[in-house]
Symmetry: C2
DNA sequence: GTTGAAATGTACTGGTC
DNA sequence: GACCAGTACATTTCAAC
């Protein structure tokens, strides 16, 4: 992974519709090696997928809720089932196991508070949870899928002398 | 927005590399009208963009932190500047204004705890914040960019008789 | 909405240096 | 890595229905 791969990733994170020839021009490469680099980044799983990002409001998903969950201590089998049940809800877009006070954190999208309530009831009916606490986002100030590539360690590049 | 648009959106949210002819086949349309629908969805801003999704671990971003922020009451101008400063950090992938206890919630990605600490110091040096509380994700169980389209209201379709 | 076709562009492969 | 060529396929636009 060198400076050029990083540039390619930056571009594709912004706009995955760019033509290979375009990308090549912008990173200062000809199309063939640029194309090969992109293939390799996909093979290596650095690029996971290319997706369309929709406007949540325009598909009737204006409300984002964060759900902090505390569970009782349970077997690993229970935890596996818990993860499966929760992850199966399409409203749950993000799901983390946390350190500290809260055991799990969910980001949930729904049209409105009533739909959140319905979601909540379905959730607790499917799995026992010790404590659930919901907070609502009033405004989404920033949402990006672009990972910051500033921390990416580069391979040493050949040097003069 | 009808049943077919919804199907198209579902497919493109999963894989934006699909050829129009493929999508057309799967939704039961021929390519021309299918292509027109996709164009319209883009014009209307339902489809915001098409992006490459990278593997965070493979670009050295294994740590996700959630940062809950409480501010003092401030002018709208101060709030504007606050939003700008915070949003400018590329490590901040999501940024919400919240209801309830916490005023703002951030999702931050960094390589490790040390980098989080450095980020934290840079953040508080750039803007005064009353209270900051960080929690770390031990595991990302689910992360998707796919919005659930189940809540999408459809236009009435023509009926027999 | 359909089909078919034409024009253009792009992806991909393989070869040269 | 650059550059050139060739094929196969995609996108895009158009015309006729």
């Amino acid at each position: 992974m060198d400076r050029l791969d990083k540039k390619i990733l930056r571009l594709l994170q912004e706009d995955a519709t760019l033509a290979v020839a375009d990308i090549a021009k912008r990173v200062g490469l000809s199309t063939t090696p640029c194309w090969r680099r992109i293939q390799k980044l996909e093979e290596d799983g650095v690029i996971r997928r290319r997706v369309a990002v929709l406007d949540p409001v325009k598909v009737n998903l204006g409300v984002t809720a964060f759900v902090a969950i505390r569970t009782n201590s349970h077997s690993t089998e229970w935890l596996r089932r818990f993860a499966e049940v929760v992850g199966d809800f399409p409203e749950v877009m993000e799901f983390y196991r946390m350190s500290g006070e809260v055991d799990y954190l969910l980001r949930v999208v729904v049209p409105d508070i009533a739909a959140y309530d319905a979601f909540y009831k379905r959730l607790i009916s499917r799995i026992e949870i010790r404590d659930v606490s919901s907070s609502f986002a009033m405004e989404q100030i920033k949402y990006t899928t672009e990972l910051p590539l500033d921390y990416l360690a580069l391979e040493k590049e050949p040097r003069e002398s």
